[in-house]
Subunit: 747 residues, 2 copies
């Protein structure tokens, strides 16, 4: 397939338009998986281990089975329930219902009953005899020889993750300034608005899962494997979904339990987690301890970066690396990274918006500031000195575009960086400071999938795509692409999506690839339909096909404007009723890498009496290529910044060292930012380097970059205001008050 020509100008793409499904979402008429009610449907609930570490001696379900409304009880001994669930390097590490419970909240049994309340009551009535085991929830303690073992074979989760280029010893020898610091990042919980859960139904050997997930096709593969079914016999549908942030990419035990209970009872089963359950067992951002050493010449040229880190994915294997950004954001010849992962008695981590990158930015971008201070340079100038043009991590392949410089320069200008730097610092209890931090994202997506555009005889359009709209506006963006090519207003385009039964394959919605990969595919499908219309019109008008244009529902001969035919008068279209167009994957550009860049600027005010930090201003300068939909773009940037504030200032799982249990597994004690915690008028500054190579629409990823550097920019601003380096999140009054007192700031 030859690549399509990029757009030179657009009429619809890039404009600010409301979501095509905004009304449905806001009015409550959208049916999320959680809203689904099927005839004869049962409700299910889990019995969970209340201990951080325990062995199940016996599960007694007799009382539960006799309770009102109970239709089925599922334990590890039920037929078909011994499904391997988490895997290590040498095979299954645990089971759907594992008698060895490795964290508080691990699933022990499940119940299906006529109502949700009956299911929960019966789950509570399951009597489990536990042998409590010693536990470890602290990752540094987990490495000690006497630490309780989460798994046989000890707490090291495989070999350390290592990366090296050049020779850091030489790099540090060449350095004229070196800094080294240790940082800590929190274990953040995804906690999307809609909790995790599924509705499962069997029709003979065909399984349907109505789900809240980020990729119906990948999950179909997973469930087909669990139940040994051909892919065509498993349907996974996810019409509306209420956020995922990476936590809804993996198969869920709730889905398996719902499917098993449905098979056992011959009835559909709904199993949705409570808010509290969702804190314990469906993922988190792994916490890291990062020690970063950086060296540079006097002019700011980086010579060496060395990172050692420790992280934990909880009780089961999960990537905890934070090194990619450290190794690829700036030009640096000598880099060495070693990252160790350990098991602790806590819920397993999952991919969380830019896995590892906010952690890496927290360390790298504060270290860059420290280095700038040591060199006596403007932090902005130090960054500009080291802007790369190739991906050192990917065989030095050039970027299709590198907007990092433009983000730094245009962002600084819009933020008023130079003026703010010159402004005298306030005396008195309220001090202000500014900070900057940069970032990039390291994945350009899987170039596969297809889309179908159907052009209807009345001039309206139907788009069918397998892509999930996880709340980011994918449906709207893709409808705008169709609108651009076919001149049909987005509100006349019906979008159906994310249903393996009816939509073509699309990559999962994660890794900031959704628009980057799917928009070109959808464009190709629209152009396929357009081509069919042109052939029809050429035949009817008796002109050459290449000499026609589609404008406002009329096909006109470019050089003979009186030769024209309205779509409604296009005989072949009216006869055929619906034209079907197929778009297929747009290959990646050869020998290049298409990645987005980002720079965030922050201004904070610190109350030196109370330790309170207010974020006064935030500006996000983004190079994500073309702005496809202005409002969706801003929405991503503001959402990402808000999540960045949470990551840096308010969020963090608290595991009680005495019990091993989570102390803040709810929205009251686990604090996500609210409207009061974000600046009233954040600024979104898209920087478009007119990337004509990344794909046929010119868009790169956005969802993940938007949250990467926010926390680091705020920490740098706090340092600017107070001289205090906040190496450990959260930047909250508890920590600030202690640090301010220690350093006697403001006294």
């Amino acid at each position: 397939m030859t690549a399509l020509r990029p757009w030179t100008e657009t009429r619809v793409v890039g404009t600010a338009r409301p979501r095509i499904d905004g009304y449905d979402r806001v009015s409550g008429s959208a049916v999320y998986a959680r809203d689904l009610v099927l005839p004869d449907m049962l409700y299910a609930a889990f019995a969970r281990c209340p201990h951080a570490h325990a062995r199940v001696r016996k599960v007694d379900t007799r009382r539960a089975e006799t309770m009102p409304g109970v239709q089925a009880v599922l334990t590890g001994d039920s037929p078909g329930a011994k499904l391997p669930f988490y895997f290590g390097e040498k095979g299954p590490l645990s089971w759907l219902f594992d008698p060895h419970c490795r964290f508080e909240g691990e699933e022990v049994a499940a119940v299906a009953a006529e109502t949700q309340a009956q299911a929960e009551a019966a789950a509570r009535a399951i009597e489990v005899d536990y042998e409590e085991l010693p536990f470890v929830v602290d990752m540094e303690r987990a490495l000690k020889p006497d630490a309780p073992a989460v798994h046989e074979g000890g707490n090291r989760a495989g070999e350390p993750d290592r990366y090296q280029r050049g020779d850091v010893a030489r790099g540090f020898a060449e350095a004229e300034a070196v800094v080294e610091m240790t940082f800590r990042t929190p274990c953040a919980i995804h906690t999307p608005m809609e909790t995790h859960g599924s509705v499962a139904r069997w029709e003979g050997d065909r399984l349907t899962i109505w789900d809240t997930n980020q990729g119906v096709f990948d999950l179909r593969s997973a469930y087909a494997q669990f139940f040994q079914l051909p892919l065509s016999q498993v349907r996974v549908a996810s019409a509306y979904m209420g956020g995922g942030f990476g936590s809804k990419l993996e198969p869920g035990k709730y889905t398996l339990a719902a499917a098993l209970l449905a098979r056992q009872t011959g009835r559909p089963v709904k199993l949705f987690l409570s808010r509290e359950e969702s804190f314990l067992c469906v993922g988190n951002r792994p916490p890291n301890v990062l020690t970063l050493r950086a060296g540079a010449r006097k002019d700011g040229t980086l010579t060496a970066l060395q990172l050692t880190s420790l992280g934990t994915g909880g009780a089961y294997p999960e990537g905890t690396s934070a090194g990619y950004l450290v190794s690829d954001l700036y030009t640096c010849p000598h880099v060495k990274i070693e990252e160790t992962a350990v098991y602790v008695n806590a819920g397993k981590a999952r991919a969380f918006r830019a896995p590892g990158f906010p952690q890496g930015a927290w360390a790298l971008e504060q270290t860059m500031d420290a280095l700038a201070l040591k060199l006596g340079m403007d932090p902005l100038a130090l960054r500009l000195k080291n802007v790369p043009t190739v991906s050192q991590r990917r065989n030095n392949l050039p970027f299709t575009s590198t907007g990092l410089r433009q983000c730094l320069e245009d962002g600084a200008k819009a933020f008023g960086w130079a003026e703010a730097r010159r402004r005298p610092r306030a005396a008195g209890p309220l001090v202000r400071g500014i900070g900057v931090a940069a970032g990039m994202w390291g994945w350009d997506g899987e170039a596969r999938g297809s889309a179908i555009v159907r052009f209807i005889a009345d001039g309206s359009v139907s788009l069918t795509t397998g892509a999930s709209d996880i709340g980011t506006g994918t449906k709207t963006v893709l409808a705008m692409v169709v609108s651009e090519e076919l001149g049909v207003p987005p509100e006349k385009i019906q979008v159906d999506h994310a249903d393996t039964a009816t939509t073509p394959y699309a990559v999962l919605s994660g890794g900031s690839q959704t628009t980057h990969i799917n928009a070109p595919i959808v464009r190709a499908a629209a152009l396929d339909v357009k081509q069919q219309l042109m052939v029809m019109a050429a035949e009817q008008l008796k002109v050459e096909e290449g000499a026609l244009e589609l404008r406002d529902g009329v096909i006109v001969a470019t050089n003979a404007p009186d030769k024209k035919v309205a779509l409604k008068d296009l005989a072949a279209l009216q006869e055929q009723q619906v034209l079907v167009g197929v778009g297929r994957r747009d290959p990646h550009p050869k020998g290049k890498v298409a990645l987005p860049f980002v720079v965030h600027f922050a201004e904070v005010e610190v109350d030196t009496r109370t330790g309170e930090v207010r974020v006064l201003r935030l500006l996000g300068a983004h190079d994500s290529g073309r702005v496809m939909s202005r409002l969706s773009y801003e929405n991503q940037v503001f959402g990402g910044m808000t999540m960045g504030i949470g990551f840096g200032m308010t969020e963090g799982r608290v595991l009680d060292r005495n019990t091993g249990k989570m102390a803040n597994a709810n929205w009251h004690d686990y604090k996500i930012p609210t409207a009061m915690d974000v600046p009233a008028e954040p600024v979104c500054l898209p920087v478009d380097p007119h990337d004509t190579e990344c794909n046929s629409v010119g868009a790169k990823g956005l969802g993940e970059p938007a949250t990467i550097p926010t926390a680091a920019a705020i920490a740098n601003a706090v340092f600017d205001a107070t001289g205090i380096r906040i190496s450990e999140t959260p930047i909250n009054p508890t920590q600030m008050a202690r640090l301010l007192a220690e350093r006697r700031v403001g006294r």
Copy 2:
């Protein structure tokens, strides 16, 4: 698009396989529209006029509005409810809620409430002040000058329907034998297992209708027009449906009322009719009075046919013609037909399995027998004498195949016609007789639509078609077509269908066109995918693409069997995950007509003491081209014969002349045949004339021919047994006892 080569041999097509969705249907796990439950859904019911003819003076909804659970009451005065519904030649003839009620059961108002019982109670509580009007329910009386007028302008429903070829006067002059008889056929009710109804939901300006219907795309057009919406903003879905027989092709007032109530309340609304309601207002087969005169030469050559008929579509316009079959089944140079339609105060007719054809066959095939008797010929020989090769009704275009002769000959042989004719007639109270009747169907479908086949990397397949499976096995037949081409077993093919949101356009499932039109389209889609697989394999194996074959999941070079690649090792497929293939319409053969033929043979036993008639044997010899699925084919034939028994022997709407109301609007009093009424072992004899021209799969229509001649064959058998010509249905003990007494048969 060039036509595909027809199959020479098949491995899957034509075999006897269970329905791919058989388990779902039989186990009750299939979700029909009636089973659908949406969150927050309301239930609705109609208030209906209890009089045969009345004018609404006032509708008082006050009491209903205050009843428990009531959320909305809809009358003709409600905003947006004044929708024109039935149309005459000069525009709207009536409205959704018409104050002039023209039959018992016409809709007057509707209510939506929290439960079905509440809705029905409130509908009963609506107080309507009616002015009762004189009525007419007898179609012959309706033509009298003093008859009450159903519509202003009188009871003639337009000009009579006329057809003529040759000169019947000359034809009858040339005849050496002439017979003339008058026949009556019943008003039969479709009464499918699942009654009519819809669930309607609005999301902003987008309307979704979950429905039980026979053509989602045609109904989408209708509802888009009612509500003035672009087609893309209306979704009509009909996953499973429980029979239609033609009664579910038209838009329903229940759908409009559900949609209006949903818009008024902002909640989804379900409105399904009760069994009793479904007898009154959603269609019937129009009753006819037919006078047929036929002339032939001594050798049996037909010279003239003249038909005059009267029919009624009830209170609103509907085709009542029964003449097509009379004019095209046999070669006859001189034909004249005049058919008059009148209005009466009764529910409107709708297309019913082969509209007009069983009526025509009832008259023509009994007349042929009478003519044979007069000529002293074997009834079979008379028919064989007049087998056509061209469609006289369609400009003498040749048929792609005419299996009528083969049906007569092979059917007679298999039935033992000659032997049975020679058998001496029994003396005594139980007498036996045999009969034959032929038929044809007059429509070869609309050649339009598309289908999508998606080939999944694990070798399973997904087929997406807009066609409705109205219970006839369409999904299974189409899956077998895909299986044939791609070697994937039907049970690994997921079929999704009949949803305007996600499937490509397909013609409605009616007129026996579903398989005839869609199977070639689906075949083309499968071949599109196959072609993509071949290109991939040719590249990987480095061979010419034309020299490859797909066998059992492996692509092999025809001339070098060691050059092969399994689909699971086909790198490009595994990378692309899913291949999308599109199939488009197969054009009709030029200058030819593709129509099916049928001959039914019957043996009956008449108890001359009671008038009871038992059908001992039935054989259906069918030329519907290729047998696509042996079990579905038999199912159609046996179902059609059973319906033919109902048409001839048990069914008929009874309108009380004193009240104008239907006396048997339920399954107790309106008798459809049960297992006790059909022969234990009916015979299905497919006659395949290897039609390579009708389309790329060789199949013609079957659903309708299967019911056309059954009743006539039974009537001819009764004549053979008793010498009594049953001109008027039903052949039941009431009528038989009277006729037997009059003729003193068996005494």
